[in-house]
Every structure is written in C-alpha cells, then in structure tokens.
C-alpha cells in the first residue's frame, strides 16, 4: 500500500520511522530509492552482476538489521555508501585469489553514452585499476559524490581520496588514447598504451 506521506520523507526520517515504529514500509521505500545506485556502484567496483547483487543484498540486510544504530549524524547515503564499499571489499577479498573473467558486455542503459567499443574499453580500463582507485573514481565520476562523501564512504582522509582519484585518472589516461577511445580491433579489452 503506497503511503505518499511516508514516501515524501527523507531517508533519515524513514530510518527513524522504522526504528521507532517498526514500519517496514519505510525500509521498502529506502530500498526502492537506493537499490539501483548501490547495485550500480557495486557492479562497477566488483565487475560482475552476480557479485554486485550479492553486495547489494549484504548492504540492505545490514541496513535492515542495524537501522537502530544509525544515529543520523551523517546522511543516510553516507552510511549506505560506506556499507557498499565494505561489502564490495569483503567480496573482493574473498575472491581475490580466483579472479573471474569480468563480464564483457556493459549493462548501462543511459542513452547516447558512446560507441560500444569505447565503452568496453573504458570499462576494462576501470577494472584494471586497483580497487581503491576504482572505488574513488567510480564514486566521483560516475556517481558524482564529492570528495568528502567519498572519504566518509571509504573511511580514509580527504587527501587519500584526492590521491586515489588523481592516480586512478592518471592510470586511466594511460590506458586510453588521447581522445579517450580504444584501439580499434582490440577485442574490447586491449587498450592502447599512452605514449
């Protein structure tokens, strides 16, 4: 049953509603608002959808279980992103010894987002980054978080975020050519090294 009043509430108030009155609809609204974003970040970090879905489950299960511990000092999304990076980190660590070939087809559905080859190249370049840099770059460039939010989400100082983003971009620039496109015929995965 839809509840316009509830749906109009901020994330933080929804968490309070759940904690205080055990109103599960509040959690369902939170899930609806943020699941795609959490999944998307997790997918970009982990590189495949199954793991991203796993991470998304982990994140929201933690939200559901620990809503009472969320005190609202920070934005709900900050907490959510922190949980997301933690979940991705855990999953990434578990599979560190047996990396799977990443999915080769992108799943973005935004219109006009470039030709397939370029997209594949950029995706593969992203995946080639160390995870810390990838997280920072994804959060900044793809999900438009500012440095402070990224610092809160990853639990590192602002200077570290700054450094990770810069080095991630530098590495990406080294993998992409000057125009940002990929070497033709590279199979979607071979990138031209920057001269």
């Amino acid at each position: 049953m839809r509840d316009p009043d509830l749906e109009a509430q901020s994330d933080e108030l929804l968490v309070s509603s759940f904690v205080e009155s055990k109103d599960q609809r509040a959690l369902e609204i939170l899930l609806g608002r943020h699941e795609s974003r959490v999944f998307g970040i997790a997918y970009r970090i982990l590189g495949n959808r199954a793991d991203a879905l796993d991470a998304t489950q982990d994140v929201f299960l933690t939200v559901f279980r620990k809503a009472g511990s969320f005190r609202g000092q920070a934005a709900f999304t900050t907490w959510l992103y922190r949980l997301t990076t933690n979940a991705c980190h855990d999953i990434g660590r578990r599979k560190a010894r047996t990396p799977l070939p990443m999915e080769t087809l992108p799943h973005s559905e935004s219109p006009g987002s470039g030709d397939m080859e370029t997209r594949l190249g950029v995706e593969n370049a992203l995946r080639a980054l160390p995870q810390d840099q990838r997280v920072a770059v994804v959060m900044r460039d793809l999900y438009d978080l500012d440095y402070e939010q990224i610092a809160a989400a990853t639990g590192v100082p602002l200077g570290t975020v700054k450094s990770r983003i810069a080095r991630g971009r530098q590495a990406l620039a080294g993998l992409l050519d000057d125009t940002g496109s990929m070497e033709p015929g590279g199979g979607g995965g071979r990138l031209r090294k920057q001269k």
């Binding site: 879905l53 796993d54 599979k95 010894r97 047996t98 700054k162 810069a166 971009r169």
Partner: protein, 318 residues
C-alpha cells in the same frame, strides 16, 4: 611565469572543483602557460568524462525481483534464514554452473530410486552406508562420464518415509536449528501434510557450523519441520559465498541443495554436491544432480567450512 608544476592531485581536484579559490587561480594561471600540465589536465579530464559517460548500471527485472525476494521480510523473524537459503542456492548454482563435473556411479547414489514398499529415506539413500568409510576418491576423469550429466532421473520415485530422518540417530547432540526455518515452513507448506524434512550429518562439523551460525550468523542453517528433532548447519556461509564470489551463476533451474560431502578429486579437495531440481508444483524433487566442485578452483576454503559430511534439509512429498 614559471610557477612550479602543480601536483597531479591538485590538477585532478581542480577538475572536480575541489580546490580553494587560491589554488584554482594558481592552477589556472599555470595551465595557461604550461603545455605539459595542460596535456595532463586534458587527459585526466577526458578519463573523467569517459567514465561518467558509462552511465548508471540498471538492475534487470530479474535482479530486482531476486533482491526483493531475498530481502522480503528481512526485518521479521525468519527472514535471515530465507535470505541465507536463497544465497546458498545462488552460491551453489554458481558453483555448479562453472565448475560442475557430473559424477555418477557412486553406490550411495544408485540406491536413491526406491520401490514403493521400501520408501527409503532419501537421506539414507544418499548417505554413505558407513560414515566412517574411506573418503570418496576420484582419480581419473574416466570415472566421470560427462561434463555435466544428470545423475539420475528420479521423478516420481523419490519418496521418503516419515520418521526417516537420520539426524536424530546420527547426531542426537545436534544443536537446535540455528536460524529460523522460514524456508522450510514455506516449502513444507507447499508439501502435503505429513511431509518430512530430512537432514543428516556425517562425522564432520555440523555441530561446529551450527554453533557458528548461532554465534555470528555465519552458517547456513539446517531447517526442521514437524518434530523439530534435528537442525544443523549445512554449508557455512563463508564457504558458500566464497564459491559464489568465485563463480558466475548461470544455472537457472530451481535448485535445492541436498547433500554435500567432502571428497578427493584427483588428489585435490573437492565437494561432491548433490542437489535436487524441484518440480514445478514445488511439492517434490523431480531430479537429482551431482557435481564435483573443486575447491582449489573455487577459493581457498577454511578447513572448518568443508565439513566431512553434510546432508541438507529438504522436504519431499511422501
């Protein structure tokens, strides 16, 4: 004129508008007169734009549904179990899909089809006759007829006698169920009245797993119905998740883990995993499949996660 080159961190932050007014002025002044820093700035900006152009990733309808189902009622009693069992299913599905090698010919599996009079417990049928017997060893692929083969078509032939749970005898000390048997309630609700949940454990660490589950939620829980005379950990979550994380789930059949046993496969540790495919009505298992999952190829699993013999719960139509 010849101001010092800014750090790449500063150039990057400048691109993001994450610099002070003073820094911005300095960077802009420098970039206007330094071709090399200008090139760096341009390349970093291009990288940033290219990443941004990837756009958000959308969940598919199936993923959306799966997430909802997995989290459904997560705040209520038993949700944890439901979720974990779902995850277990996914985990095993992933493991099966990628690393599965079918195994046939195990004596304990051959005994699964039962005659009407015998009503052999599926669990008993699947369990080794002697739990202290030597571990199963597969030394050659010659012993494996195919990549992925259905172990046995047991449609309409899997029948289980009431009271057939071995767990009460095999593990009287088994701890209480470590999670709410939500999924079991669901499945038993679909089953005919009198359906029995069977679970068993070998000489391994079922109890340990149960303890872990009770303590930290790190184990998939065995589920019980009816008399509730048994409940024990199956796969630890850690093990299942490790498999899942290492493997892509492509299996679409509705899988139901039945049994897992540690074996030796060509000298390497592996799981012999048996799972059932539930018929459309959900009332009965219509097919059993068995796979060897190579643990080395999956992930490094802690010894305590393997279990020497674990048989899972399942509910069958009598």
């Amino acid at each position: 004129m010849n101001s010092p080159h800014p750090e790449i961190e500063t150039i990057s932050a400048y691109i993001d508008g994450e610099v002070s007014n003073r820094e911005r002025a300095q960077v802009e002044q420098h970039l206007a007169s330094c071709a090399s820093c200008g090139a760096i700035s341009k390349r970093m900006r291009t990288a940033s734009v290219n990443v941004a152009a990837l756009g958000p990733v959308q969940m598919t309808v199936d993923e959306h549904r799966a997430l909802r189902q997995a989290l459904l009622g997560a705040t209520g009693a038993g949700a944890s179990s439901r979720w974990r069992l779902d995850r277990l299913q996914w985990s095993l599905a992933g493991a099966f899909a990628v690393l599965a090698v079918a195994v046939v010919g195990f004596s304990f599996m051959r005994s699964i089809p039962t005659d009407d009079g015998g009503q052999e417990s599926l669990t008993e049928a699947m369990a080794p006759a002697d739990e202290s017997a030597a571990p199963i060893t597969i030394d050659s692929d010659d012993q494996i007829p195919g990549k992925v083969l259905a172990l046995a078509e047991v449609k309409d032939s899997v029948s289980v006698a009431k009271g057939g749970s071995r767990s009460a005898e095999a593990a009287p000390e088994a701890p209480a169920a470590v999670a709410q048997p939500d999924a079991a309630r669901d499945s038993s609700a679909q089953s005919n009245e009198g359906a029995e949940t069977f679970s068993a454990r070998g000489g391994g660490n079922g109890g340990d797993g149960g303890g872990a589950g009770a303590a930290g939620g790190s184990a998939y829980a065995g589920a019980t119905t009816g008399g509730g005379d048994a409940g024990e950990a199956l796969l630890t979550e850690d093990a299942g998740v490790r498999c899942s994380a290492a493997l892509a789930a492509t299996q679409t059949d509705p899988l139901e883990p039945i049994a897992v046993r540690e074996i030796s496969y060509k000298g390497r540790p592996a799981w012999l995993v048996v799972y059932g495919v539930r018929e459309r009505s959900g009332n009965a298992i219509e097919e059993l499949r068995a796979f060897v999952v190579e643990l080395d190829a999956c992930a490094t699993l802690p010894a305590e996660a393997l279990g020497s013999a674990v048989l899972s719960r399942s509910t069958f139509k009598p």
